[in-house]
Symmetry: D2
Subunit: 335 residues, 4 copies
C-alpha cells in the first residue's frame, strides 16, 4: 500500500486527485494539505465530497511529507518549487505545476526566477506515452500541462513526416482556469459565448515546442480559446506534409504508434469532447486536406484528468511498478 | 461472480448500467441485448465506450436470459412487460420501466392494458430506503421512476407530521427523456431556456401517490420542468405542518430517519445538482416558512443513477446479499 | 423630445436602459452617470456597445440631473434613496431599486433604515398593468422587482377566486444577480447545475405580498432558484380554488383580464423562457389540477426587461403621454 | 414603402428576416410563404412571435411574388434555384441559399446540377463591404454563407500582404444547422461538448476561395467546429507574412480598410461572440506571432444576422438606395 500525500487540495486538480486516489486499490491517502482552509474538512470547500471525503485539511508540513511514499503537488506555479526545493531528495514527487517542465532559461522567460534550477534537469517530463522508461525511476515528475498533453500526443505520431511550422488551434473548458474569482469567468461572461485569449503568447507554447524540439526542430503557433463548458480540451492541429500521403497509410502509422498505449484511443470518426470527459483517454483522429498537402490532427482530452490529475496517477502507477491502468478505469461522463 | 444480462443497451439507462457493472467486483456482464443494432459493438452506438466496452449487442433471446443470475431490463414502458411475462419465473429481474410499479388499475389508466397483471403484486418496488427487506427476496424488482425516487425520499422522513396536500415542483435535466429524436429536445430549443411540461398529468404523479398512500392518505400535485442541463433532478416540495415545529427538531428527525442509509446525504446547506451528479446519492435539505407553517423540502439526485441505473445496481446488491455500496462508490462529476 | 438621464450605467439594468433608449423615437439620452468608471466611454465597461454607445460616463451631479425631464436610477438598494432624497422634487424619477417599493416598516425589516420614509407614500408602484392611471401623474416610480413582476401579473387575474396561501416556485437566470464577482456565480458553479436559494426569505416575497394584500389578504410562500442561463424568469404558482372551475371559464377570465394590455401574452400552450427573452412581454398560461382543485399558473418574463429596464421605459411612456409601446416593439432573442 | 416578400419562413433565417423587416421603416411585409404549414399563422411555428407576427403563411405563388418590389428567398440549397429560374427577370431577388454563389463548375462539384447556370453570372455576391457598387444595381443577390462572411471580411484587409496558404479554424453555434431533426443536434449531444465536422470538405471552403481568388491566387484550408451555443461564429485565421510587420502598421491598415463601413468593428481587444450576437456587426481583431511571422486574425459575427438575414437586409437597403443602416441599429443580446 502506497502512502500518499496531496498538497494543494483546495483547487480543482487537487480535488480530482482526491477523487481518483480515494478508491485506488494500491493507495492510502495519508495526508491532504493546503495553504488555506487548514483544519476544515475537505467537504467544506467541496460539498460534492460530503460523506465521500470528510478528511481534514492539514497545514503543509515538511516532516509529514517526508514520511510518505509519494506526494502530489497541486500548487500554483512558483509556489510549488518552494516546497520541492526543500523536500525533493527525501521523497518521490509528482508536481502538477509548470515549475519543472521547462529549461531554466525558458522558465524564467515565461514565468519567473527559478529557485532551484539545478533540480530541473533531474525532473522527468511525465508524459507516459513519451517517457515511460524514465518515469519508472524518476524522483521528481514534472506533470505536463493540459494543452501540452493534448498537443504533443497529437503531433508525436506524425512528427517524422511533417515539415515546417505547426499551428495549434486549441479550445478548452473553463475548469482549466480553476476556481479563480475573475470577472471573465463569471457565468454571464462565459455562457453563450466563445473567445480566444493569450493569442500566440500562452505559456504552454514553449512547453510544447521544447518537448518536440528534442526530437526535431519545430516551430509552433499556439492559440487557445475558452469554451462555454466546464471540462475538456480539443486541439485542431495543422501541419504541412512534404508530399502526398495516403490516408490509409497515415491511419496505420497512427494506430501502430499507440498500439501499446492503453490511454490513447485512435478513432476513425472525429472525436468529440463529451465522449472523452471523465476519463484518462486522449482521443485522436485526423483528416487530410489533399488540395494543400496538409494534415489536420484532432486530439481530445479531459483537461483535469489526462491533462492533469489522472495523468499524475498514471505516472505514479509507472513509478511504483503498478499496472499502468490501476485505479484508472474511469467511465466517460456522457451523457 | 454474478452472471448478469442487460436488455435495452441502446438507451441512456442501459448505457449507465453497462458503465456501472463493467468493473463491479462481483459481476460479470455475460449478455447485452437490444431490439436494434444487433451484431454491432456497443461502442458503435456510444463512441464514448470505445476500448471500454466493445462487446457486441445480441438479439433478445429468452433461453440466453434464463441462463443468467439476474437480468436488468432497460426497455420502454409496455415493451418490458412483454419480456417479463415470458421469463419471470426463471430468473431474477430488475425492471427499470414503469410496467410493474403501479397497481393494475392505475397502470391501465396512465399507460395501457397490462399483459400480465398477476405479476404486479409479486413485484417489489425497488426503493431500498423504503423496502430493503422485501428487496432481499424479490424475484422481480420494479425500479422506481426518477422523479418518484427524489420525491418519495424527500417526503418520507416527514410523512408522519405533514398534513394536507403535498405540492412537488420538479426540475429535470434532458437525459430523462433519453435519446428521442424530438424537436423539443434539440439544442436550439432547450439551451438558454426552461419550461414546464405535463403539468399535473405526469405519469410519476400516481407512482408517488400510490407509494406514499400505502402509509398515509395523501394528495399530490406534481409539476415537472425541463432544465437546460444533461443530468440531475431537483425537487422542491411544499407541505403543510399542523403547528409550529422547531428547525433543530426537524433536522434531527431527518438525520435520524436516514442514519443507516449510505446513499442519502442530509445537508445543512441547500443542495445543488452539480454536487450530486455522477453518484448514487440523494442529497436532502429543508427550510421552514414559519409565517405559514410550511415545510419546504429539497431533494436532488442524478436522474440516470439514483433515479434509474445505480439504484438498480443497489437493488441487485441487496438481492444477492452483497454489500449495498459494492461497485457504487461513484465520484461526483463536479466540476 | 424627452431629455433623459441614466444613473448607474455600469450594471446590467443600466446597460439595458441605454440599449432601449438609444433609439427610442421620443428620447434623447443626455446624461449617463455612475459611481465608478467616470470619464470612461461606456463601451469600455461593455465592449458589446462599441460604436453603438461610446458616450462617456459622468460623475453623479445633482444639478445636471435636475435639468433633465426624467431620470432612471439603476443603483443598488440603499444607494438609490440617497440620491432620490436630494432630487425628488425637481424632476420625475424612475427608480429601479427596491428603495420605494415597500412600506417603511417592511423596508426596514427586509433592507435597512430608510433615509426619506415620507417619500415612500408619494411613490407609485410602477406595474402598468395594475397602476396605469397613477403612473401617468407620478413624480417618483418604484419600478417593481423582477420576481415580483412575474408573480403579481400571474396571480392578479385569479386573485378574486383563489383562497388560502399562494406558493410561488420561481426560477431565474443568472443576470438577475448582476455582474457581482461572487464565487457562486462563476461559470464552473452555475453551468450544468441548479439550486434553490434564499428559501422563504427572499426580499421579493414581502413586495409581492404587500401589493396583493392591498386587494385581498393573502399569504405567500416564495422560493427562488438559479437557472444555468443568462436571462429569463419562470414562476410556477400554486393556488387553491374553493370549488371546481371550468378550464374554458378560467381561460376566458384570464384573456379578458389582460385584453387591453399590450405586453401580456395569454397563451394556450405552456410558455417557455426562450420565447419571451428579449421582449417586454409577460407570457402566461395555466393548468388545472382537478383532483385537488388547484390552479397552477405559469408566468414568464425577461428579468432584465419586463422585470426591470423595459418596464421602466413602459412607465416613462405612460408618464409622458407617449404610446405605451413606443420604443418597445422588441423582438425575442430566440433562437 | 417597399413591398417585400419572404419565401421560406419556417426556418431560422426566414424567422430572422421577419423579425428584422417587421419594423423596418421603409418596408411592408406583404407576403410570407413556405413549402409547408400553409394557412397557419407564423406564430404557430414560432410561438415567440405570438402577437408580434400572427400573419398567415401562404403557398408559394409566382404571380404573387412578381407583384412585389423585392423577395427574400430563405429556401434550402437546390430548392431556391427552382424558384429563381422562374421569376428572376420580373423582380429583384435576394437569395440566402448557396445556389448563386459559386461558378457553375464549383457549384456542381460541391452541390448538384444547376438548373439555370446562365443566371449565375448575373448574380452579385452580396457582401456589401466588397461589392457595394454592384449590389446597387443587382437584380439577383447571392447572399454570402455565414462562415464565408466572417472569413472573407477577416482576410480582405490583409490579402495584399499575406503569402501562401490561409488556414481558417472556424467555430459556429448550433443555429447554423437550422431546426433539422438530427440526432447530433440534440441537446444531449451538443451541450457540454465540442467537435469538428466536415474537416477540409465544408461547402463554404470553395466559396471563400472563389471570392478571394478573384483578387489574388490563394489556397484555403477550412475546418469548422460546433460550439455548444445557439448563435455566433468565431473564425481564427492563420496567414503567413513574408517579413516582419509592425503591429501598429497592421492595426492602422485594418482600421483604414473598414473606415467607411458601418458594420465592421475593428477592436483593440480580442472579440468575443456574446458581444456581437444580436447585431449586424463583424467584430475583428488580430495578433502577431512574431517568432513565426504569422498573422492571426479573429473575426466574429452572428451567423443568423450578418451571416444571413441582416446582411440580406443590408443588401436590400443598398439595392433600393436606402441608408445602409436603415432598420439595422440592432442591439447586442449580451448579457
Amino acid at each position: 500500500m502506497l502512502h500518499v500525500g496531496i498538497v494543494g487540495v483546495s483547487g480543482f486538480t487537487g480535488l480530482e486527485l482526491v477523487k481518483l486516489l480515494l478508491h485506488h486499490p494500491a493507495v492510502s491517502i495519508d495526508y491532504i494539505a493546503s495553504r488555506s482552509h487548514i483544519g476544515e474538512p475537505l467537504s467544506n470547500i467541496f460539498p460534492s465530497l460530503n460523506s465521500i471525503c470528510d478528511k481534514k485539511i492539514e497545514a503543509i508540513n515538511e516532516d509529514r511529507l517526508k514520511s510518505l511514499d509519494v506526494v502530489f503537488l497541486a500548487l500554483p506555479h512558483g509556489v510549488s518549487m518552494e516546497l520541492v526545493c526543500k523536500i525533493h531528495n527525501k521523497i518521490r514527487l509528482i508536481d502538477l505545476s509548470a515549475d519543472f517542465r521547462l529549461s531554466k532559461d525558458l522558465y524564467e522567460k515565461w514565468y519567473k526566477t527559478h529557485l532551484c534550477p539545478d533540480l530541473i534537469e533531474t525532473a522527468v517530463y511525465g508524459l507516459p506515452e513519451l517517457n515511460k522508461d524514465k518515469i519508472k525511476d524518476a524522483k521528481l515528475i514534472a506533470n505536463p500541462g493540459c494543452y501540452a498533453t493534448a498537443s504533443i500526443l497529437a503531433i508525436l505520431p506524425f512528427l517524422d513526416i511533417i515539415e515546417g511550422d505547426v499551428i495549434i488551434d486549441a479550445k478548452s473548458g473553463v475548469s482549466g482556469a480553476g476556481k479563480s474569482l475573475r470577472e471573465d469567468l463569471l457565468f454571464s461572461e462565459v455562457a453563450s459565448s466563445f473567445r480566444a485569449y493569450s493569442v500566440a503568447k500562452h505559456r504552454h507554447q514553449p512547453e510544447i515546442k521544447q518537448v518536440l524540439s528534442e526530437m526535431k526542430p519545430i516551430n509552433i503557433t499556439f492559440v487557445p480559446h475558452l469554451l462555454p463548458i466546464n471540462r475538456g480540451i480539443l486541439v485542431t492541429i495543422y501541419a504541412n506534409l512534404p508530399t502526398i500521403f495516403d490516408e490509409v497509410f497515415l491511419f496505420e502509422k497512427l494506430k501502430r504508434f499507440y498500439i501499446n498505449e492503453p490511454f490513447v484511443r485512435v478513432l476513425k470518426n472525429l472525436p468529440q469532447i463529451s465522449n472523452c470527459v471523465g476519463t484518462n483517454f486522449c482521443d485522436m483522429s485526423f483528416a487530410l486536406d489533399k488540395d494543400n498537402n496538409r494534415l489536420i490532427i484532432i486530439g481530445v482530452i479531459d483537461n483535469l484528468l489526462k491533462g492533469a490529475s489522472s495523468q499524475a496517477v498514471q505516472n505514479m502507477n509507472i513509478m511504483f511498478g503498478l499496472k499502468e491502468e490501476e485505479g484508472l478505469n474511469l467511465k466517460p461522463y456522457y451523457p
